[in-house]
Symmetry: C2
Subunit: 276 residues, 2 copies
């Protein structure tokens, strides 16, 4: 094994640990669902509860104990050992707003990245009892069964597909991203769930593609590997850093549908750059 490469044994050990963390987080979340929560608002206007913090602290402690040399990036508690080649990325409750209101689509996101490439990824929906996991080269499982994304939508026409975008939609409506606004205007069948339920719908192939706009690293920590190992396509279309916060826009889902969206955006961009 070359220095810095990840052995299969090491990868399996990491993935098993990630599965343990997801089980731990699921147990806590199920026990606190529909209980009284302490809600507060973060600087960015989003909601956080005592449960988000409790889970992230618990998961970080478990990682530190098992892999003291690994880096950790969590939504609530920031980054440890940013220089480490292996980084755990945690979103203890993705969709806190939904979780705190009793809307059962929220989930836990755990990703492990090796030099920036995802090698293990999990999205778990505790109340829906839906668990998605992927390990690099080993496929994507839903509740233990291998997923295989259909290549083409039922109609064979990408425009007949269902699409999902991330909230807030006001960013697109404000005109900050004209090609995507044009896409939303084109009569597509759209979903907005406000959490990673949209990502797992794409992993299942139930929707054609997810358009994740300006997502933070923990929002996307598991989606790339879950999609790719299920046989789908994941394309990052832009990345920016705003007030020290990295954000990415990515499209992922069935290959022909993702390509259809990328072509649509490219066509829109060509139109805007055409001399008048």
């Amino acid at each position: 094994m070359a220095v810095g490469e990840l052995s299969e044994t090491e990868l399996n050990e990491i993935h098993e640990a990630a599965l343990d963390l997801a089980r731990e987080a699921r147990t806590i979340l199920r026990s606190r669902f529909e209980s009284q929560l302490t809600r507060s608002y973060k600087a960015d206007g989003t909601v956080v509860t005592d449960v988000d913090l409790e889970i992230e602290e618990r998961l970080r402690t478990l990682i530190e104990k098992r892999f003291p040399q690994h880096g950790i990036l969590g939504e609530e508690l920031g980054i440890s050992r940013p220089e480490a080649e292996l980084r755990w990325i945690l979103d203890p409750v993705d969709g806190t707003e939904n979780f705190s209101r009793g809307i059962l689509t929220f989930g836990i996101i755990i990703g492990v990245h090796h030099r920036g490439t995802p090698v293990s990824g999990i999205i778990d929906h505790p109340v829906l009892d839906l668990h998605y996991s992927a390990i690099r080269g080993g496929g994507t499982l839903r509740n233990g069964s291998r997923l295989k994304m259909p290549d083409l939508p039922p109609s064979g026409d990408p425009r007949r597909e269902v699409f999902a975008i991330s909230n807030p939609i006001s960013y697109i409506l404000s005109g900050s991203c004209r090609p995507l606004l044009a896409f939303l205007r084109s009569g597509i069948n759209l979903r907005i769930y406000g959490d990673c339920f949209a990502h797992t719908r794409a992993v299942e192939g139930q929707i054609g593609a997810m358009i994740a706009v300006n997502n933070k690293p923990w929002d996307l920590a598991a989606s790339r590997i879950l999609i790719e190992e299920a046989g789908g396509l994941y394309k990052e279309i832009s990345r920016l850093t705003e007030n020290g916060q990295e954000k990415a826009t990515a499209v992922f889902g069935k290959k022909p549908v993702v390509e259809f969206i990328l072509d649509f955006i490219a066509e829109q961009n060509r139109g805007e750059n055409r001399p008048a």
Copy 2:
């Protein structure tokens, strides 16, 4: 009892029959979920499957047998006895697109209206095992337990609420309804589910309000009574007939949140009518 009034006995008998129909439809839908379906597209571009037709035929037969004098309006098979004072309104599968793709938020909608006023209403999500029912004057139940909608959102501020709108969003984006477009642009936290899961989120009080745009009668058949009997507010804001098809736009949910939306729309309309 005045001629043409509905007795309590008659109302109870109707509601019991509606609950029977929902159980029947749930059994069929659960058995066909994730099975091979015959999908086709209707004139309006939406999907229909053999299951939609099978369930509506079955429910109509049961109603005809028990209440031969009642009217029936169904999504797939049209209207019978339009002059009847009592009308059953049926959406055998609300969210056929979701159902046929395995997205578990779809539901069955059954409403019974007496001279246009809903007296019994049911929305059932077969795979999520969530059942909502209401009888005029008797409250709204979720899986047998009485629901009481909180009057104010957790934050106390209607703008911090979660809102849902019906698909397609392209109608609003095209500028056909400027006040609603302005509302979507105002930075609200939005959901689009593409079926009656949005309605039942409003009935639960999990979201502040649902904005149902240009909905057909069967889409809204149960929502008014479910919301009102849970202690919420339902307001129809417009109604039109297009190619012989009646469509209504309604806002419903927590009282202060619905009033906030209506005020926002009124303010937008005043702005548009102001002399330049």
